[in-house]
Subunit: 324 residues, 2 copies
């Protein structure tokens, strides 16, 4: 997912597959293998051996254990160190994949491993649960959200934060989904913006990777649009820039527009496919085969990417960043 998104937007990608599975885990079952930390380290060494390590950006996603988190951290730090004399020439996007909806889905030792990485990354993309885990602040309302972001900026000196899904407990009202981001000021103070998006009533897999890949491309693009910013350490905008005018905010608007278009089309195709399936099996036993139905539903909800390149490349921006 991430590789194709970046490639289709014009990036040359060196993809290091941390797993090779038959399918994503939304199916509830899969076969395949995980790369060991040693394999990850070896592949990077292979790139270095042939002068193929001149990366401008790095994105990491799901990693199968603490050792591989450490291995990726070593790569990120090595690339960052090489870029010391050229501020802004390397940018590290870290998606600290640990869990969701109040639950860890990685081993417990992955948490401290990620905590060790966040202070060296440039942009992190935690979901609400991961932001809580990293900051130690339970997010229940606007105030605790601000506290979590302030803590992350302060504790880890992480310049850019984007919390990819915030859903506050609501009383009666329709639940709304928000993406909330911040780029710190020179005093490590947050500049917080938020974008509200209509929720699509369907579970999709891989959208985190799609979001991360789009962010990498669009953030770089937004930074390029500001003269001189790309040659600044970690691409941090001057203190005079308002939250909603941050390149991070502009990038997020574009990313969410692409996501919304692709997922709306996916939902339509999924509904049509399930309708066809239902007609085809009719009242026969296949419909009462719960396991098969679950698998068919997972497949029907696979994100429709390759035929929706226009939505990736040239989305119609509808949701705007607002000051929080």
């Amino acid at each position: 997912m991430a590789t194709f998104v970046m490639q289709s937007l014009g990036c040359e990608v060196a993809a290091l597959n941390t797993v090779q599975f038959s399918n994503h885990l939304g199916y509830g079952q899969a076969k395949g293998t995980r790369a060991t930390a040693q394999e990850i380290t070896d592949l990077y060494q292979g790139l270095k051996d042939s002068y193929l390590d001149d990366f401008q950006m790095m994105l990491s996603g799901y990693l199968p254990g603490a050792a591989s988190v450490e291995a990726v951290g070593t790569i990120g730090r090595d690339l960052k160190y090489k870029a010391t004399m050229k501020p802004g020439s390397f940018f590290w996007v870290l998606d600290p994949v640990m869990g969701d909806n109040g639950k860890l889905y990685v081993a417990e030792d992955v948490v401290p491993a990620y905590k060790g990485l966040v202070k060296d990354a440039d942009l992190i993309l935690p979901n609400q649960f991961e932001a809580e885990t990293l900051s130690g602040v339970k997010i229940v309302d606007m105030d605790s959200l601000k506290e979590a972001i302030t803590t992350l900026h302060g504790k880890y000196r992480i310049p850019h934060i984007l919390i990819t899904s915030i859903a506050f407990p609501t009383h009666g009202a329709t639940p709304s989904l928000s993406v909330v981001g911040s780029t710190f000021t020179t005093g490590a103070k947050p500049r917080i913006f938020g974008i509200k998006i209509p929720a699509i009533d369907c579970f999709f897999s891989g959208t985190g990777d799609m979001f991360a890949a789009l962010m990498l491309v669009r953030f770089r693009e937004a930074v390029t649009n500001v003269p001189g910013l790309m040659a600044t350490a970690a691409w941090v905008s001057g203190d005079e820039v308002e939250a909603t005018e941050l390149p991070l905010a502009k990038a997020t608007e574009k990313v969410l527009a692409s996501m919304h278009e692709v997922l709306t089309k996916t939902k339509e195709s999924r509904d049509a496919e399930l309708e066809r399936y239902s007609k085809q099996v009719g009242g026969r036993d296949a419909m009462s085969d719960e396991k098969k139905l679950r698998l068919v539903k997972s497949k029907a909800a696979e994100v429709r990417l390759v035929r929706n390149l226009k939505a990736l490349k040239d989305p119609d921006v509808k949701f705007r960043a607002e000051t929080v």
Copy 2:
């Protein structure tokens, strides 16, 4: 290479990586791992377990040993068997990667393993050396070329053959490069066409995979343009269709147009990059570091794909199929 080409032309791809290397072998060195035959078999089983094996086409490329060739053969046969009652609903493109320029670069037991597969595939894409190895006919002129193709159609009952690079020994004249193909008739007689292309004076890696992926997409497209053909076993055109009017010929024209555009642009970028490198290192020792220069040259010649999507999607067809 193959995955991105197919995806960017609108195909949903389930990619099974048979190796994960830091770089292609044109660099003369690489780190990484090979998938075992068991891993290949397991991944396919994982797809089946979740009803994800409804493929219309299969393309196989480099395989790291006889056991993995067998494993991929088992997958191809299983998919073919499932499609028995629906002629044309599954199509198998086999690139029998064994060697080039008179030399094997796989273990010797890979040769009989591929020979066992060819009789079940629908289209094979050997280079001249691989066509010689499979047919047992040394290709030195038009007559022996025809004999090799006739032998392949007859011996393996393979419906479609495309020999991806033919260079006859020439006496004095500029060497010309040709692609020669054939779709057999009901009597297993060849219908041979050829397309001459100007050679680009540079060694590129991955072009075989690029060619194969483009062929898969363009052949399917050309078959779709002929009413009823897609519901015919192995998409074999009626005997009345001339060689140059075959969907295989039409597809090859389009594929070669894309290849030529992308590689011409790659050559330009490569020359500019080497020029920059030469100026940068000047007379300094780096230029006399032969190993580094070789690696830099390999990198400079990497095929420029992601920024040349127009050449893939909408190429300008210049080279036409001719009767041989």
